[in-house]
Amino acid sequence: MKNNPFHYDCEISWCPGCGNFGIIEALKETLEELGLKPYETAAISGIGQAAKLPHYINSNGFNGLHGRALPVAMGVKIANKDLTVFVNSGDGDSYGEGGNHLIHNIRRNIDITHFVHNNQIYGLTKGQGSPTTALNQVTTLQFDGVKSSPFNPLAFAISQDCSFVARTFSGDKVHMKAMMKAAIENKGYSLLDILQPCVTFNKVNTFKWYKDRVYYLDEKYDPYDKEEAFKKALEWGDSIPIGILYKSDKPSFIDRFHHLKEEEPLVKRRWSPQDARAFMDEFY
């Protein structure tokens, strides 16, 4: 691992046993195996425990505001389409504070990968219910149980024809890496929901809880079958499917603009004030 160019030797402030350790290791290995170099990648995040990830990896990085990782990632990708841009943020950041950006980047199909470290609880702010916490689950704040139904990110993304929708589990590195690789390789917005225990605040959805429930989608499963994908996305409880639930091939956002698609990245172009002179003609 020490030889991995993405590895950064530093003090990490996650709780011992946190699923984030497994996720970052899988990510670093995936990036290396894809033949990428740190300067060619950009790790973007919002705020939360997961969102500290850009500090723990060798890569370009932008640790922005709570809920706002996706817009930053979009701006980075459009400025430099040659960069591999990925977002690491939690369920609160991605599905709560940043929910509107989730909707609209699925619509754009911007070519970025969104890794949601979904532990179904707020970690950094110490144990409040998140958008994915189960109904009636008791938390440090909702002492009488959560009163809102949980958000189903995968069913939602499929309903919006998201180009890549997958789920994995932080306790299974091989599967995680396979999903990460497929997500990064998808030319469009890829949502990878990563089930992850919070050892400190979520006493319900523990490592064992997930381990006992997750099962792999088999080889016969067709991720292009939207109805089947929807059924799988709704499956939650005693058995939880992991794998690529849904795929939809469509042009990425940048490819929808002729001049962005055909020409070199914006960051490599040069402008001169004189280039804009002709735009004044309509005012004569």
């Binding site: 530093c10 170099k37 740190p38 300067y39 060619e40 950009a42 973007i44 705020i47 500290k52 850009p54 500090h55 060798n58 890569s59 370009n60 990085g61 932008f62 640790n63 922005g64 505001l65 706002r68 996706l70 817009p71 930053v72 990632a73 979009m74 701006g75 980075v76 459009i78 400025a79 430099n80 040659d82 960069l83 509107n100 950006h101 909707i103 609209h104 603009f257 002729h258 001049h259 962005l260 020409e263 914006l266 960051v267 172009r269 040069r270 402008w271 001169s272 004030p273 004189q274 280039d275 804009a276 002179r277 002709a278 735009f279 004044m280 005012f283 004569y284």
Partner: protein, 557 residues
Amino acid sequence: MEYNILIGGEAGQGIETISDILEKTLNNMGYYVYSSKDYMSRVKGGHNFTQIRLGDYPIHSHWPYLDLIIALDEKTVKLHRDRLKPNGCILCDMSIKNEGANTLRIPLIGIAKSLGNPRMANTVALGAVYKLFGLSYDRAIEHLNARFANKFREENIKALKEGYEAVSQLFTMPQPSTVKNILINGNEACALGALAAGCAYYSAYPMTPSTTIMKFMTRYAEKAGIFVDQAEDEIAAINSAIGASYAGIRAMTGTSGGGFSLMVEALGLAGVTETPLVVANVQRPGPATGLSTRTEQSDLLFVISAAQGEFPRMVIALRNTEDAFYQTARAFNLAEKYQIPVILLSDEYLSDCKVTTKPYDFDKVTIERYLTEKPEYEGIFRRYEVTTDGISPRIFPSQYENVFVLADSHEHDEYGHISENVDIRNSMVRKRMKKMELLRKDLMEPDYFGSEKPELLLIGWGSTYGPLYEALRLLKADGIEAGALVFGDIWPLPQNRLLHYCDKAKKIINVEQNYTGQLASLIAQQTGIRCHGSILKYDGRQMDSYFIYKAVKEGDY
């Protein structure tokens, strides 16, 4: 010599079409045009009007008294007839009742109906206006040809000609100038300035009165080879612009007060990550939704202090269509030089007024990126290095092989890594805030015009520039020793000229389009100087030069 024309009616009656054609014709002939709009936040009905002031000399403001009212409905007559000059005239349809010899009733609707489309009453009126001013209708036909699809083109040209024949010439036009000028509004000028500055990323959410910046940028996006995005909300708009700027291209967002309020947290993000950014706030009256389509200068103190914490920023108030172009372009250089957000403060009045303007000199615009050379090391870049000149080195991601760049919304060390260390915190705060001092070297002093020994000093900012400029001429004609100081760069507040003229003047009066006198408060806070009186307006309608002149003359301040 000058004339003032008002074209009024309901939304959807085609006021904009005919005023646009008339203004373009006049500007193209060599006249100076100043066209201001007054419109309601609705698509049909209500009462809208455009006021066109034209002359053979440069015009800087609208004017209250009218030579001609083109009334497409009865409300226009009732609302504006009191502003008609003694030998002025109202042009309207036969159906509109109005007593008085100065009413010129022609069958606007009748002619349009006889040509098969009553909606062309506006085109009939346009034809009549060309005749009243003795203008050739050929120019109008050119515009109609360009504007209308085939099936409406012929009938509109017929309507124009019949309107032309229905009246006789009433006004004598002065000799036009031979100089070719452009006719442009503040938002278009701002967008053109951004394009000239090499702005490659513009993201915004539609909000009146800022939307036309985005519209212009979008129109030329492909030709300019840039990206324009209609974001899902203002929060996305500013955050994605920050992302694009971090990744190495010039980025801008634009909005009005409500949208700016949503952008505030990210403004601090640009501040702490030292990411260059240009943000236009085209002000409208607040609070909350306020008056959507009207004007105010009430966001000054807000934008100066918006967002939690302390970080350096610059605020430039746009004063006219010249500023809107040149200052927007300059804002990009300042944003990159100091790695700060630069806020352009415009308003609905400036954004919508179309003004005859000297064509912009694109040679005067420069693009200075202030990026750093390739570092001598590999790995993580010391993006926030504390340097002797106070500005950290800046490169962008993947600019150089094997060098990567980290940015963080938390307090951070020289590499951009989270830090709660006391010494690091202190050095980073000092480093950032020092830029406020460095920035002073680049400040432009406010414009001053009027007497060098002013008894009376008027102080304003932004779009009251034009009205103040003309008010000073009126006061001078009455022998009043007055001067006016009008701020463009407003934060940090330039003080040299302010102190100089305040020292000379006996009375200082702030002239602002708000209730509390925000510039006066800022001046008092920064210099201890207190204004002796205020001329303020906050009804959403811009003060004209006569309003200021009258207030000064009557001591109403």
